[in-house]
Subunit: 359 residues, 2 copies
Amino acid sequence: MDRLTKFRDEMKKNGIDAMVIYNLEGSDQPSTWYISGFSGTHSLVFISQENAYISTDSRYFTQVKEQSSFTMFPITSDKRVKDILKFFIEKEEAKILGYNASNISVKLYNSLFGDLDIEEIKDCESIIQNMRMIKDSEEIKNMEKAIKISEDALQETLNHIKPGKSETEVCARLEYEMKMRGGELAFPTIAVSGARSALCHGKPSNKKVKEGEFLLFDFGARYNGYCADITRTFSVGTPSDEMVKIYDIVYEAQVKSVQAAKAGVIGADLHNVAWEIISDAGYGDYFGHGLGHSLGMDTHDGAGASPSNKKEIPEGAVITIEPGIYLPEKFGVRIEDDVLFLKNKNKVLTNFDKKLMII
Amino acid sequence: MDRLTKFRDEMKKNGIDAMVIYNLEGSDQPSTWYISGFSGTHSLVFISQENAYISTDSRYFTQVKEQSSFTMFPITSDKRVKDILKFFIEKEEAKILGYNASNISVKLYNSLFGDLDIEEIKDCESIIQNMRMIKDSEEIKNMEKAIKISEDALQETLNHIKPGKSETEVCARLEYEMKMRGGELAFPTIAVSGARSALCHGKPSNKKVKEGEFLLFDFGARYNGYCADITRTFSVGTPSDEMVKIYDIVYEAQVKSVQAAKAGVIGADLHNVAWEIISDAGYGDYFGHGLGHSLGMDTHDGAGASPSNKKEIPEGAVITIEPGIYLPEKFGVRIEDDVLFLKNKNKVLTNFDKKLMII
């Protein structure tokens, strides 16, 4: 069943006559791209049971026709977004609308949906979220390409790292290598070393990389709309015994979690596989985040392997598996793969070696 | 008068007891940074006439204390954001709250502000927007630094451009050079050549740069929270007569608009300075955007020199001046400087030569 047909089935179940997706400056780009094929940063999508429309401005008139099979209505200075929305509502006789509540600001909501001749408007973002969580083979190919770009870039970057280079410099190199291979950035790169590797979401700084430190990269390319998300932690020169010990615990937790990954597993249960290993080793207090999240057109693309997710992870989901231990003021280790959940098994999409590597 | 004092004066004029700024994954980072000093990506700011509070999670406990003078309340698994907000409201006996309606999604608004014991909550984003539009000397220094990083990076990038390189490759180089100089990206870089230079917001592609084409860069670094925004259009090899003619028109429009820039000028009037020159030359239909926008902690930081802005541009504003002519399927030219508006004069913050340069 194609996406639009499935989406319309879900619209019926949710009791809405039409779905509105407004994408301003990329605010709802992934869902727009997913359902309509249009990858630009400004559009109004309107889907009823009979018709599917897309509006955009003059920057994108050519692109939208190339990318989308939806019927195009141009946004102009005479026909603004609100006028076009009213026209769609009237034409399709839509009384109950759905929208994505996470991807529209209160200000935009009021200006777009205020003063409409409708009965009700309701948040239906779960429709597209649930659909986007389950990837088809074309989507997996895009993710594999994003991962290959990321891994090739990391491999090349390793040739340019030496003590005395700053985190900012090695980060700039890694991002450059991804872009040279046709990737965009899936998210701002984390490149942190020494005590700063204990900062889960540390920004690269002008701190210089030193011998005997960990250097942690959490990074990923975006290709054709799909994201990679990979973490590797390297030892710059010979690691201390404590560094090796912590790395080994995280490595074991990561490998065992990957082994337990398959369609149908409860998110929280999978998290616990890693948590128990780390906790039994005495470091439970230093693993403060969830084991992983769904990945796709967004970096956090739905529920994943977190303590709060009591649902089964469905077949076709791609979830990151990324345990870590962070010893404040000392160092941190995290290892992250992107894993496709299948019936009774999984496929690890990332290929970069994850054993402790000295660079 | 310091920022917080001025902000509290404006709160009184707007009739609110307290202002709430919620910043999730950087959703309201610039305003949070501006008023509290905290530059992280997760915080709840609460300002009353007597007190100013900031809450963040464990990633930022150290950083928030270093950066902000506001009283810190930690967000933990026991004390979540909503609990903390309720505590602030009760403690400060706040009945009328203000918030920024453009920087919070409907979903977040409902979960944060639903079910509170208050009388009213109203959009007060104009308070901080108006304050942020007028820059002090420290802010101008940051912008000058962001501009210097951008211009040095562009100068270096010119050494790496030759026919046969793709737009993506030269874009990757420019971004790399900005990052190597300590800049983040203010916005996604536009690097487009040949017929693609006629796309106002074109994304770099794998199209190769060729002799006899324009190559247009619209780019900028962000430094210490402040953005540069610069456009230069270069001729790769010898330009055609038509290319020279169009460049000269845009150049004249840009120079004359800069000459007319000073505090007190009406935004639309300044736009018209450029528009009349371009229109008189017969290309009015090919200059489809506003002359410029306010610049600061956001790339579009308030009203600027657009046809719709009937207000005076205040002293201390930094506005981009960026006329362009775009001939579909042929080429486009845009030249953009960042201009500080002063009493009876202005200061052009950008320094990169803007005469037609053959590379």
